[in-house]
């Protein structure tokens, strides 16, 4: 008889599960796609937490358009081949909007499916510039700045603020550093106001960089831009100063690290490095962190604040649009400002968040200070 009892339970469950979609028709479905397991789960899970917390908060206030918000997570492990499955699943589950995906590669693979289904997608973390700049995906938005924005900021800063025209661009041959350097080179050349007098990769971990430093001198550069991380940056800066060259050194957020100042010591003074805008003073940012600590008992992980902001932006857009019609949501995203954990934002026509991005920092008295 035990077996019969069990069968009954299964049957009951099956009925309950089948009944779900009918019941859920009255909710706003927020799909959350990203790496929820596997090696990169630590990039994706904070986004799920953010979506759940935002949904809980909004539901407590009466929901969106009078309906409760339902979070539907879908795992893609940051793998493009799984991302398409996750996207298809979310579309068939009737997601109204989707928060995700996390990795640029997975996002790129999944985008055509959402475009086909006409669903708005917003990523908290996919930084590949082409995702928005190609113009292929009007339904794609993001709350994080794209990879090339740092280089753009660095170039504009060097040319316009510092007034330097001849720029030596160096990198550490790694993906991140070389990407930064290549964008910088492209922006300098496109801008037409400055010239790249030297474009070189240095070998990370080399015994010294005196030959590269001499090459910078010989090139007549007025400023150095460097893409890479702090160990190479501190070595190059120290050797520049040792060779009595005090030209400005502008770099990326791989260098905006306190270890850089510790290692380079007094030679670090005056070095510029860009990094994400400091949002720690924003009330919504504090609220988001507190909510996470209260609910999960720990500090949130990577891309949490961007994901929190994206959830707020998406749900706000549905509320403002007055419906779950994608065209209306997209219009609301582009026209209505919304207060989020990364600042007050709206989106430009390509889908990048305006008001999100990088600031330039300079080492002053042994500390990085944001330049306004």
């Amino acid at each position: 008889m035990r077996k019969g009892w069990f069968k009954g339970l299964v049957a009951g469950l099956a009925v309950a599960v089948m009944a779900c979609p009918a019941f859920a028709a009255d909710t706003i479905k927020l799909g959350v796609a990203g790496a929820h397991s596997g090696d990169l789960a630590s990039y994706g899970l904070p986004t799920v937490n953010a979506a759940k917390l935002v949904a809980k908060m909004i539901n407590a206030k009466g929901g969106v358009l009078g309906k409760q918000v339902e979070v539907i997570p879908q795992d893609d492990q940051c793998k493009p081949e799984l991302a398409t499955n996750a996207a298809t699943k979310l579309v068939s589950d009737g997601a109204n909007v989707v928060l995700g995906h996390i990795c640029s590669g997975a996002t790129k693979a999944a985008l055509p499916i959402y475009k086909e289904a006409n669903i708005v997608l917003m990523s908290p973390s996919a930084t590949n510039p082409a995702l928005t700049q190609s113009g292929d995906y009007p339904n794609f938005f993001r709350t994080i700045a794209s990879d090339d924005q740092q280089a753009k900021l660095g170039v504009d800063f060097t040319i316009d603020k510092l007034g330097k025209k001849k720029i030596a661009v160096l990198h550490d041959k790694g993906d991140y550093g070389k990407g930064y350097a290549e964008y910088a080179k492209q922006f300098i050349e496109q801008g037409g106001k400055g010239t790249v007098v030297l474009f070189e990769g240095v070998t990370p971990g080399a015994v010294d960089y005196s030959a590269v430093v001499q090459k910078i001198r010989n090139s007549g550069a007025e400023a150095v831009m460097f893409g890479g991380y702090h160990p190479e940056a501190s070595k190059i800066v120290q050797q520049l100063r040792k060779k009595r060259m005090d030209l400005p050194f502008v770099s990326d957020d791989g260098v905006k690290d306190d270890t850089f100042i510790k290692v380079a010591g007094k030679d670090a003074e005056g070095v510029y490095a860009s990094s994400s805008k400091d949002v720690s003073a924003l009330p919504l940012y504090k609220e988001a962190i507190e909510a996470h600590v209260k609910e999960f008992g720990a500090e949130p992980g990577a891309f949490y604040k961007e994901a929190y902001a994206a959830s707020l932006a998406l749900l706000n857009a549905i509320e403002k649009a007055g419906s779950t019609d994608s065209a209306k949501i997209m219009n609301a995203l582009r026209t209505e400002f919304v207060e989020t954990s990364v600042g007050k934002i709206k989106f430009d026509k390509r889908g990048d968040a305006e008001g999100v991005g990088f600031s330039m920092y300079q080492v002053k008295n042994g500390k990085y200070a944001e330049l306004k």
């Binding site: 240095v202 971990g205 005196s210 001198r217 270890t259």
Partner: protein
Amino acid sequence: MDWQYFWELFFGGLTRGSIYALIALGYTMVYGIIELINFAHGEVYMMGAFTALIVAGALGIYGFPALAILIIAAVVAVIYCAAYGLTLEKIAYKPLRDAPRLSPLISAIGMSIFLQNYVILAQTSDFMPFPNLVPQPEFLEPIAHIMGASEVLIIVTSAVSMAALTLFIKYTRMGKAMRATAQNRKMAMLLGIDADKVISLTFVIGSSLAAVGGVLIASHVGQVNFAIGFIAGIKAFTAAVLGGIGSIPGAMLGGLVLGWCESFATGYISSDYEDALAFALLVLILIFRPSGILGKAKTQKV
């Protein structure tokens, strides 16, 4: 031709080459005597830099003058690394002396990994700032853009160490014993040379030179980390092979040739290809002189 630029690169290469040569001597001496490639040698160099950092930190608190700190730190580093070299040989290589040649090689790689991890655990895996211990005298200021005081010190110290080593090998009893052991260990032992002592001494000398290199380069670039020994070790090993492994003047020449090659490749071509060109040179030289620039072609004993 821009001679100013040429000399800047020349002296940059000379500095780098001197360091390679100092480390390469350790590889080549050990190889010359027991035909072992001591892969843990780069780590001894790193330990030298770390020891000096700790000593310099401690002395800095008491307000010693920079130059005094440098000398004391270097002496302590040399003693400490010599002890490491000796222990390394006793623990990892001596028990394997009669084993097939691959066994001590694996043992050497094992020691290299062990020492790196030891430093990570006992010290830190972070980059540490190394204080600049070489004061910049006034009279060097006009050439500061070519060579700073620390570079002059590197070149001078390397030259003196190498000259002293050459004299030691040529004119002392122990030096003679080393040469004899290198030529034929069994015969040397038959003639009453204590081969174990000679081998230990070889490790002590090689490690001391690596320690000197470690202190000098750490002071020059201003940072140390547990991994610095790896690249320096690989480059120095390349220098030793380039010059002819087993040959002491070969290691010096190999170090300088490699240093210059990298410096000029960076200066006149591109630093993207710094390593590629350096190793292309190695391949070229080995095609035409398989035993290195100054290496003697050995007849294979059958």
